[in-house]
């Protein structure tokens, strides 16, 4: 078996700006990698894909040199392939199930997905096939709230079925986390623009600056003639740890830090008006994708020493493997088994340090992960001037607060019927992070698609 093709990346020394780090495959690499697929009789990879892409078929099309066809196969199940090829945690999904993974070198499905989508964007300028199946009656309308992966996918599917779809987004630009959270060096915004543009071309009307619950409320949408409402409002409320000193100057939530940089382009200050202040030494608390993105962003904004502070060990770090490797390559230090206790500040309320404690792993906890326990007398101070808190998010608050009759689960997320994804309010459906809590792009897309299907049934226009 030929070895897995390594994707070219920007050399470490060249990663000073916000240019994309992963550079993708050449055609020769793509073909060689696709040829590694064994075309299993009962492929497990597709079962590991939350939207069920026919992976062996698209790999086969690449082998045959028919990239257009490969792209179509991807498109059939996944409307954001250039995005997913870049951000999906393939190692726990398709690639994790690949038979070759047993020997440690699964087929690089993600890199090949990216290759096809990039090829199509550059060569083919193909608009999505508008499979105008026309089940919907003229004038039937659906409203989608939130333009993250869940909302985009639901909107696209509903539009293809012939509904008039309006997508309402609170921010001034569409994309959800793809827009404000994931940085340019991992997901260039022109790619986000392009794939959202494809969905707009299906006839979805995208309305930015609409905060549902404030600008309009759910009952308003029904009285405006929308027959069903899909909520994909995401989990955007930043958690804090409740540490002493967490409101000092120089402490950011990862959301604020990343939003300033990605949505507001603070990395181009003063050309863009929104500032960001990053000191020389930065501690990022947490070890998920959000934390890696914040840490790598801090390096690019000129911090000379950036540390990830995480209370568990390496094996539990939830970030994509590729991002952990990239972070390491970029010189980020990992303070593992380290629990933050307090943010220290000077008389001007400026961060001066992060007092931490060393931990060791004890018995497994409810999540099956070994519970970290403090090592006595191990407190120390990490000297930093900036702290970024990346310890997870809660449900976006506004829509929920303004609809107190919407049923929530114990953690405050929207409760839905597990089969139909309908909330307790008839005609109102929900999916994505606002239902599951912070998860993944592809999981949100899969659920958005499932919700669209049941909306069509609800509106009596499924085929």
């Amino acid at each position: 078996m030929a070895p897995r093709q390594e994707m070219n990346k920007l050399p470490k020394g060249a990663r000073t700006g916000f240019d994309e780090v992963a550079l993708g495959y050449t055609w020769e690499q793509a073909r060689a990698e696709a040829e590694r697929c064994l075309q299993c009789r009962s492929p497990q990879c597709s079962k590991g894909c939350p939207v069920g892409v026919d992976i062996p078929a698209f790999l086969q099309a690449i082998v045959h040199g028919n990239i257009g066809r490969a792209y179509q196969i991807l498109q059939d199940q996944n409307r954001l392939p250039a995005i997913c090829g870049r951000v999906c945690p393939q190692e726990t999904q398709c690639e994790g199930r690949c038979i070759l993974a047993k020997k440690g070198e699964p087929v690089a499905v993600g890199a090949l997905e990216r290759y096809c989508a990039d090829w199509a964007r550059q060569h083919y300028n193909g608009t999505l096939n508008r499979a105008d199946s026309g089940q919907a009656k003229a004038g039937q309308k659906a409203a989608v709230v939130g333009s993250g992966p869940a909302g985009l996918t639901a909107a696209a599917d509903l539009a293809v079925a012939g509904l008039e779809v309006t997508l309402f987004e609170a921010l001034h630009a569409a994309g959800g986390v793809l827009r404000y959270g994931i940085p340019e060096f991992r997901l260039p915004k022109d790619i986000v623009d392009y794939e959202i543009g494809q969905i707009r071309d299906l006839g979805v009307s995208i309305q930015p600056n609409y905060l549902i619950g404030k600008t309009l409320d759910i009952p308003d949408l029904f009285s405006q003639g929308y027959g069903a409402v899909f909520i994909g409002a995401g989990a955007g409320l930043p958690n804090f740890l409740g540490l002493e000193g967490e409101n000092l100057n120089g402490v950011y939530s990862a959301n604020e830090f990343l939003t300033r940089v990605n949505l507001m382009k603070a990395f181009r200050f003063p050309e863009y008006d929104t500032p960001i202040r990053v000191g020389k030494r930065v501690a990022v608390i947490g070890a998920g994708n959000v934390a890696m993105d914040a840490a790598r962003t801090a390096v690019r904004l000129g911090a000379s020493e950036v540390s990830i502070v995480y209370r568990r060990s390496r094996a539990e770090m939830p970030a994509r493997l590729e991002e952990i490797v990239n972070a390491e390559e970029e010189g980020i230090r990992f303070q593992l088994l380290t629990n933050p206790l307090e943010v220290l500040g000077d008389e001007n309320y400026q961060v001066q340090g992060l007092r931490c404690q060393r931990m060791q792993l004890g018995e497994p906890d409810g999540s099956g992960r070994r519970r970290p326990q403090p090592i006595p007398d191990s407190a120390f101070v990490l000297e930093v001037d900036t702290v970024v808190v990346a310890v997870g998010q809660g449900p976006n608050p506004i829509l929920i607060r303004s609809n107190p009759n919407l049923q929530l689960d114990a953690r405050g997320y929207i409760e839905v019927d597990p089969d139909t994804l309908m909330t307790n309010i008839p005609g109102v459906f929900a999916a994505g992070d606002i239902v599951t809590g912070a998860a993944t792009v592809i999981a949100a897309m899969g659920e958005g698609r499932r919700a669209a299907r049941s909306i069509l049934e609800y509106l009596d226009c499924s085929s």
Partner: protein, 275 residues
């Protein structure tokens, strides 16, 4: 989002009437909007200083201090904002209190006006106290006087009304009158002082905070403040809070975080004007 009317109220202080029917239809006293004037602009929170649901308009008052706000103040009638998001924040609960003293400092009169107007309409007696550095900066006085039973002014230089702080006026009113509530909106030190004066007289107070913001939808936490020992997000929990519960010291320290950078940006802006 078109600008229908523009009026310069004082140096660097401009009032706009903006066509925003969707926002106007839902606006209540205490709400604000977030605007962007161009692609490279900041998201700027501005109080809805008045609104007319029928006409579909909102009134905004902008103080040109940073780069984006200065550029906003150069917009003219028939220009448009790129984005207007709102109405945001929790509306101020308008009840019948009895006698309410409205203490405005500087630009604080803009967020004060819609609250005072609604309170007056509910039958409250409004006592209007307003302070500014100098006479020219006392804005919107006619609007306030039209809904108030009593008005008094103070300026730092004595160019109009009492020379000194507006809180001195507040102290006098509270000494002589039975007051049910004090609303104080203006610079942080003024609000903190007004809250203290009200508390000395056993009167409850409400303040409206004007923190740094990015999204205005509860997504970034950049606007967090400590109220009653708990972290609150000014954009979704506020901007109005019980004055005596607010940790003003913390807000005072957080406010200037970006000041150096703003200076740099403004400097660049001036260079561009020159060049």
């Amino acid at each position: 989002m078109n600008i229908l009317r523009k009026e310069v109220l004082a140096q660097d202080i401009v009032r706009f009437a903006v066509a925003a029917p969707q926002v106007a239809a839902k606006a209540e006293p205490g709400h604000f909007v977030i605007v962007r004037h161009k692609e490279m602009g900041e998201r700027i929170p501005l109080t809805i200083a008045d609104f007319d649901a029928e006409a579909g308009t909102i009134t905004l008052v902008c103080h040109g201090i940073g780069r984006s706000t200065r550029e906003i103040n150069e917009l003219n009638e028939a220009d448009a904002f790129l984005d207007v998001l709102g109405p945001l924040g929790e509306p101020y609960p308008v009840r019948h209190e009895g006698t309410v003293v409205c203490v405005s400092g500087g630009l604080g009169v803009a967020p004060m006006y819609p609250k005072a107007k609604a309170l007056a309409a509910k039958g409250n007696k409004i006592i209007h106290l307003q302070g500014a550095q100098r006479k020219e900066l006392l804005i919107m006085t006619q609007e306030m006087e039209a809904i108030s039973e009593q008005s008094a002014y103070s300026t730092d230089d004595g160019s109009l009304g009492r020379r000194g702080f507006v809180t001195d006026l507040l102290r006098e009113v509270l000494a002589g009158e039975d007051v049910d509530e004090v609303i104080a909106i203006g610079p942080l030190p003024m609000m903190a002082a007004a809250v203290d004066v009200a508390a000395e007289h056993g009167v409850s107070s409400v303040v409206s905070l004007n923190t740094l913001m990015v999204d205005g939808t509860g997504m970034c936490g950049g606007c967090r403040v400590t109220v009653d020992g708990q972290t609150k997000f000014c954009c979704v929990d506020g901007p109005a809070f019980d004055g005596s519960a607010v940790d003003f010291k913390e807000i005072l320290k957080r406010q200037p975080f970006y000041r150096d950078m703003e200076r740099k940006s403004l400097h660049r802006c001036r260079l561009e004007e020159v060049g």
